[in-house]
């Protein structure tokens, strides 16, 4: 899997196009010729999800919820409205925030496809859309968590959320110890995508913070 690292587009034109690349190129030409798509709009759509929307959005939401109890209350009551306070690009879907506590761990999956809260996390990573995660998250959440984010104690309740509607979930992770007095910006730096899906905890990287 790690061989993918340098395939970011722009860098692959010196290699012959493979099957899907050829088909997509032919399809785009056809749709442009028929007047059904404008290539500039395609560029804009791609740019939106490569540079404007992504997990940094969600990290800001989480950090604010950690420092501002009134905001946290709004987030848990109506996440869509609380997220809109940041002006993030939504798609009209409803979003529900799920709070992790010392006794409850939440884990989000879409077993049927790839439902994911785009406005706060951007496009889902490959593993989230993969057969292993979709198959296992509902039947063996503790096994998945053990592999990815550390073991969950027996007395902690694991709640799995299978996203099957235009209603998406954002996990509000626990604020890690040792971050007392940090600013919202500092906190946002340490909130990860995987913590907002529920497969990892937020930890304090060595040397970060003050």
């Amino acid at each position: 899997m790690s061989e993918h690292d340098h395939h970011h587009h722009g860098g692959e034109h010196d290699r012959p196009l493979s099957g899907p690349a050829l088909r997509v190129k032919a399809l785009e030409s056809l749709l442009v010729e028929k007047g059904l798509v404008d290539p500039k709009a395609l560029d804009e759509l791609i740019d939106t999800y490569e540079t404007k929307v992504g997990p940094r959005n969600g990290a800001r939401v989480v950090a604010r919820a950690w420092v501002d109890p009134a905001y946290k209350q709004r987030l848990l009551a109506d996440a869509g409205a609380a997220i809109a306070e940041f002006g993030f690009v939504g798609r009209g879907e409803d979003i529900v925030a799920l709070e992790n506590t010392p006794t409850v761990r939440n884990l989000v999956v879409c077993t049927l496809c790839s439902c994911y809260p785009w406005p706060v996390l951007g496009l889902p990573p490959v593993w989230y859309k993969s057969a292993p995660y979709r198959a296992r998250a509902v039947i063996d959440p503790r096994g998945v968590l053990k592999e990815l984010g550390g073991e969950v104690a027996d007395d902690v309740e694991v709640r799995v959320w299978d996203s099957t509607a235009e209603l998406r979930y954002l996990v509000l992770p626990e604020r890690p110890a040792g971050t007392e007095g940090w600013s919202e910006e500092q906190l946002a730096e340490i909130v990860t995508r995987d913590a907002m899906i529920g497969v990892a905890r937020v930890t304090v990287p060595a040397g970060s913070g003050r």
Binding site: H7, L31, T48, E93, T111, V160, T164, A165
Partner: protein
Amino acid sequence: MNGVHDMGGMHGMGPVEIERDEPVFHSEWEARVFALNLASGFHRKWNMDMGRHSRERMPPAEYLAATYYERWLYGLEKLLVEEGLVSARELETGRAGEKAGGVRPLAVAEVATYLRFRLRARLDDDVPPRFRPGDAVVARNIHPTGHTRLPRYARGRRGAVDRDHGVFIFPDASAMSRDKKPQHLYTVRFAARELWGPGAFARDSVHVNLWDDHLDPA
């Protein structure tokens, strides 16, 4: 449909592998097919649910072997032909027979607004709920051959309504006949042991979004 896309609870798929510093797209064509899907949806010839169903209809062996965006490519080609935006011959030859009449493409300036409202599934229709939070329910043991948001692992299982989210488009109908069939959407909590048997942890649960037409009183 009882397809391979309905993966919840399957075994043998291997470990979950998280790629470090994963790019949004792994190649140029993935980005293009992503954008082509969204830009083609602008013509409103199909809805989100039809889009999902188009990818589920990929033959099972191909579906499992395909990458995510190969499924998007498959579904888009299918919908473009089925809904008459391009002909099968045009798709095969890659040459346009004639320009599409009476349509214009999504413009750059419209992208932000288009994205903002694309997925709205909540409806204002005044439909009474069949269930209230706390109600004991059983997911219907049904096997629709078309699109359904009721995963196999929940069918016939007993749960409790956790929340009522209000009235939403019903995807099972919307994918097959464009009928919105407005009804309440709930989060239903199933105990892990109800779904997976005594080997599961007693305190764990799986929450599934289900609609009125998926549920009966228990």
